[in-house]
């Protein structure tokens, strides 16, 4: 699995959406991505890449794209 | 039928005087019990679905005596229903009695909750009414408050929620005898106009003579879309001339002489 596939899977598994829907997703676009869903997503991403994110980054991860950017800090390149 | 109910009320007054006399020097809340006599009579002997053989039946209407110090009126009703024996009645306020000075939760006696700390019964009633609706149980909840008790803020917290939740299965009866512990309510903290307060809190409000059983039955049997508040205008110590409307008889000690005088006035024996 590529990192992009693994990253996308965190979204699709957490929110029950398709790959296509995940691509442009932003916080609160869908009902499932509320504050509780957000923590589920963070936990799924952390699990996928075996990392622990800092609080500021957890708060900042407000979209699919923003997440890719933040993960660079943890030496995870999504491509 | 009204005549029969009035006869029961008279017997209940005798029961209460016997309890108060039996309590001896510790005294008894006789005034605030006597003002409840007709209210209790109407509820237990006509309005409520209540089976003394099965007081825990889930179909029963729930009665919550929030002004717990008036409990002698409830015990007297239970005595007349055959739930309490003569001996038990006279154990009132004695050590190890079931008949506390303030009611203690007892499902075998159909006492829904313990009370004594004022201002809590309506919250319990609202909780019951909400739960009954959730369980699709059509029983009604009756909560009896004192007018002095209405000083407690928690009463109004509960009143707000009752009307907001449209609890049309809830009836509040306020025993408005115009006297609280220290003095007349006018001299302590008057709640007048009490009916307007309940009305403004979203209750269908009625004022009745709390010693007129016919009037009581009329309003207690009325249906409404809202919770109901009945302001029952009563006389503290009703039925015994020297107690009537006398703040000293909120809690009083009955001597043999006073007891005999009171019993004679009511014209009965145990």
């Amino acid at each position: 699995m590529t990192t992009l596939e693994a990253y996308t899977k965190a979204f699709t598994d957490t929110f029950g959406i398709t790959d296509e829907e995940a691509k442009n997703l932003k916080f609160q676009d869908i009902k499932a991505w509320d504050s509780v869903g957000h923590m589920g997503l963070i936990a799924a991403i952390e699990e996928a890449f075996d990392i622990m994110m800092e609080t500021d980054d957890i708060v900042d991860l407000s979209s699919f794209d923003k997440g890719k950017e933040i993960l660079k800090k943890y030496d995870v390149e999504i491509d | 039928m009204i005549d029969d109910l009035n006869k029961i009320a008279a017997k209940m007054r005798v029961d209460m005087l016997n309890m108060a006399y039996s309590a001896g020097k510790s005294g008894a809340h006789i005034g605030p019990a006597l003002s409840l006599t007709e209210i209790m009579t109407a509820l237990y002997f006509s309005v409520m679905n209540f089976n003394p053989q099965n007081p825990g039946d889930d179909c029963r209407d729930r009665l919550i005596l929030s002004k717990g110090h008036g409990v002698m009126a409830q015990y007297a009703a239970m005595k007349q229903l055959g739930m309490i024996s003569d001996d038990e009645l006279l154990s009132f306020k004695h050590n190890n009695t079931k008949l506390y000075a303030h009611p203690s939760m007892n499902s075998e006696m159909g006492i829904e909750f313990s009370s004594g700390s004022l201002g809590q019964g309506l919250s319990l009633g609202v909780g019951c009414a909400l739960a009954l609706k959730l369980k699709k149980n059509n029983s009604r909840v009756y909560v009896i408050l004192g007018d002095g008790e209405c000083n407690e803020g928690s009463v109004w917290e509960a009143a707000m929620l009752a009307s907001f939740q449209k609890l049309n299965n809830l009836t509040v009866i306020i025993d408005k005898n115009n006297i609280q512990y220290d003095d007349f309510t006018e001299n302590v903290l008057s709640m007048n106009p009490l009916d307007k307060k309940w009305e403004s809190f979203g209750f269908d409000t009625e004022i009745v003579n709390g010693h007129n059983i016919e009037q009581l039955l009329q309003v207690l049997n009325k249906k409404s879309e809202k919770p109901t508040a009945i302001v029952a205008e009563t006389v503290k110590g009703k039925g015994v001339s020297f107690m009537e409307n006398n703040p000293q008889w909120h809690n009083g000690i009955l001597s043999k002489e006073l007891f005999d005088t009171a019993i004679n006035e009511i014209g009965g024996v145990l």
Partner: protein, 322 residues
Amino acid sequence: MIQITPQNIRMWSLLGSCGAFGAAAESVVQENSNIVMLTADLCSFAGLSRFSKMYPDNFFNVGIAEQNMVGVAGGMAKEGLIPFVTTYATFASMRALDQIKVNMGYMKLPVKLVGMTAGLSVGILGATHISIEDIAAIRSIPNICILSPADSLETVKCVEAAVQIAGPVYLRLSGSMNNPPVYKADYDFVAGKAITLKDGEDITIIATGTMVHNSLRAAKLLEEKGISAKVVNMHTLKPLDVDAVKSACSSKMIITVEEHSVIGGLGGAVAEVLAGIEKKPEHLIIGVSDSYKPAGEYKYLLEQYGLLPEQIAEKIEQNYKK
């Protein structure tokens, strides 16, 4: 059933104790439709936004009226429902204390009172919002079980336990979001039975709530100084695990650590047991000193009161006599 997976444990820890409570609420109601959630205008704060949308019939926002909320829950409990009552710990415990005494203590109605942000975590809001007195206040009332989970997973377990316990419960939730986890995998939780998390020869640290994590870290620091510390998670403050206290008497020192006043909390409860034991070691009570300090952020306040792991270790080292 609640799925206890590494991912869920991490999610609950991120959500903090309130969020974990909300997640557990959604789960337990699926198995028991008699469970209802009440809140005094703190629905989202209590982690119950989802619950309120998913189970609107089982959710009651009673407005800012805590005394009434506890009474309403008493009525519901009598009718066979299992009501959880949620608000800030300080209001849950003390604003409604007489209602707690009468409904939960005297009548033993099975109300589950949930105190959010117990301790210092919302200290930035000032002394009105912190809760350092709640254990002392509720512990003095007969018949109420007090649960104080160490982390978010234990919070979930305590919610499940509270449903099972037939009587009234006070669930004390301490900590904030991103609560450090004490437990990284599933384990057996039994109310009233303390859990030894680390063995040690010299001293026994008995901790509760957030201070379990800090005590484990303190124990590690003490290890480096040659002091071997046993660490016990006293997740149930009432009924207290008396045997755990008795067995701690074989250590050279007992230390209790809590995010609560040093008066009447875990320290008080343990001292009450020790008072009846003839041969016992010195007991050091570490907690919030009997004072209100100026408002400040959570970590800052923990530091002000000397409750960070390094400070706990230092205090123990100073008092420990070999």
